[in-house]
């Protein structure tokens, strides 16, 4: 419908035309021959087109500068979490269980090494005997090795004697 006062499309018709270009045939035919309405349409469409182009370029620039974090990867990575936890649990058990086991169960001897209570008693007896002989040897008063050099008996000069020797 044409506005009687202005001779151009009404706001409603104009908006209808912008929303759906195949709208009212009367509006379409008026637009085809009215330069004023064409100009209005051009202003709107060029502004919207600039907005679309610019906003898309702006969004692309945002995407280019932001790290490409694809959730799909995070999802796949999340699949590794249970596996990782399982490995960590196994590793923890491998450390903790032997330690716990040591505290509760006597250590088994290594294969081929037969440790019996008799053997350990005889070894202990041998060790004791050896230690005893060493102790005896250390406690025996042997001749002082210096006597073998036949040195004169030591004079008890005390500090003065040492001073005399030093002053010479």
């Amino acid at each position: 419908m044409i506005d009687a006062a202005s001779g151009h499309l009404t706001d409603e018709d104009f908006t209808d035309l912008l929303i759906d270009s195949s709208g009212n045939p009367g509006s379409v035919s008026h637009l085809a021959q009215c330069s004023h309405c064409q100009s209005e349409q051009r202003i709107f469409l060029s502004a919207v087109e600039d907005f679309s182009t610019t906003s898309l370029a702006w969004t692309r620039s945002k995407i280019a500068t932001s790290p490409l974090v694809i959730k799909k990867k995070s999802f796949l990575q999340s699949l590794w979490l249970p596996v990782g936890l399982a490995f960590a649990t196994v590793a923890l058990l491998a450390v903790v269980l032997p330690a716990w086991h040591d505290g509760h169960v006597p250590i088994n001897p290594a294969p081929g090494v037969a440790v019996t209570s008799d053997d350990s008693a005889s070894v202990i007896a041998q060790d004791n005997q050896l230690l005893e002989s060493v102790s005896i040897a250390l406690s025996t008063e042997d001749n002082i090795p210096l006597s073998e050099y036949h040195l004169p008996p030591r004079q008890h000069g005390g500090a003065n004697g040492r001073m005399e020797l030093r002053n010479r």
Partner: protein, 185 residues
């Protein structure tokens, strides 16, 4: 309705999610960013959108284009955000709102004179300012119609709104933008 060959092509296309993202990510993110007015949240929603699309790719029947289907998923995510009130928190924070003057630096450089560029910048800011005054639904529909070039039935299908509701929202949005541009009768 697309043909069987196209449908199979579209479904197999969805298998390569990174290629799909390469094709549609900017459009989806732009759509979400200007619908909700938050750049950072738009990035999160966009990534959720592609993840959801990948997980539910078997449900894509091919009775619409991939982009319409993706816009539909993005719409549902936006609705979820609004329902869970998270959106309001982010809106109040307002730290990452879309910056119109920053966006103006991406204007096409084919404007002949500085005056033309200045006019284009001014109109860009006017459109952006007009969108700010609209509701989320009005903005969504405006962008789908004028930036994505979807027709009314496609918008209806991706937003889940009846065509008449789409028309009503679009009417208000166009009126607001025309008013800002100063081209009302």
């Amino acid at each position: 309705m697309i043909q069987l060959g196209q449908e199979v092509s579209a479904i197999s296309e969805l298998e390569d999610i990174e290629a799909v993202m390469g094709l549609y990510r900017a459009r989806i993110q732009r759509y979400v960013a200007f619908s909700i007015g938050d750049d950072d949240l738009a990035e999160t929603i966009t990534q959720e959108c592609f993840l959801k699309a990948y997980r539910s790719r078997d449900t894509f029947r091919g009775d619409c284009t991939v982009s319409t289907w993706l816009f539909g998923i993005a719409n549902n995510l936006i609705k979820d955000r609004i329902r869970r009130k998270k959106f309001h928190f982010w809106r109040k924070a307002g730290a990452t709102a879309v910056d119109a003057s920053e966006m103006a630096s991406f204007l096409p450089s084919n404007e002949a004179s500085p005056e033309r560029r200045l006019l284009a910048k001014e109109r860009l800011e006017q459109v952006n300012a007009a969108l700010d005054t609209l509701s989320v639904n009005q903005r969504k529909i405006f962008i789908l119609r004028f930036s994505e070039g979807l027709d009314l039935s496609e918008i209806s299908s991706s937003t889940g709104m009846p065509v008449n509701t789409v028309k009503t929202h679009l009417y208000r949005a166009v009126t607001a933008v025309r008013s800002k541009l100063g081209v009302t009768s």
